[in-house]
Amino acid sequence: MPMSRPRKMFIRNSFPIEGVLNQFSSYTWTVATVTYAHGYQAGYADGQRSIAEIISEECDGEAMTLRIQRLKTKELKAPLDILIEPDADGFIAKAPDLPLYGYGDDRDEAIRNLQAEIETLYDDLMADDNFSEEWLQVKTFLKERVIN
């Protein structure tokens, strides 16, 4: 029986593809949706490659958004939007709802560093209430989002 080629999907509308993306078992995070800057969503059923590697083929040099559903060790109640942009020869990942960033030589590393940043911030904020009003609002936001 001939080996099937990796399936590639391009879906114009907002269509949940987590069923496909969850097959990336090497990832501690789950991408619920991948949205390109130009409005497409895409996913692969090929579990041999990382999602970021696939994204970089499709979205080279462009800013893009995606959603993470997990942090380094904690899970989120609802997916969190993140933005990944090229930064010189590396990448910077940011969460528009949070004053944080993760830098990496590739998208994978930038995303992982941002996940670690969010988790560290969550731990910091849960430790006490000695923060400015701005940070207390972030605390409330994360309290509602993170499953402890």
Partner: protein, 100 residues
């Protein structure tokens, strides 16, 4: 933007010496700036002596509540710790309500 003149270690040293930020070693280095005993700004600095890429530099400035120009000045010594305290204090104080 003077990002090419500094590396991540320069930012860390500047934040420690001028702003009394104590960094904690996690995935990257994180530290809080305290104003009146409260944690008001949180900055993340890349470990090591990494080159600062433009967007990362701009984001670090933003984390400290500074424009890129003010961040340049903080790093090249013309903006001191007291100046930063005044800027932060002014930025965080309640704005007067507009009257029509």
């Amino acid at each position: 933007m003077k990002n090419s003149q500094f590396n991540s270690h320069d930012v860390k040293t500047c934040c420690e010496n001028k702003l009394d930020i104590q960094f904690r070693d996690g995935g990257e280095l994180n530290g809080w700036y305290l104003l009146g005993g409260k944690k008001v700004r949180r900055v993340t600095v890349l470990k090591g002596r990494k080159e600062l890429k433009p967007k990362t530099y701009k984001t670090m400035a933003s984390q400290l509540g500074l424009s890129v120009e003010q961040f340049d000045n903080l790093l090249d010594c013309s903006l001191g710790g007291r100046d930063y305290q005044s800027l932060t204090s002014a930025a965080l104080s309640p704005k007067p309500t507009e009257t029509h």
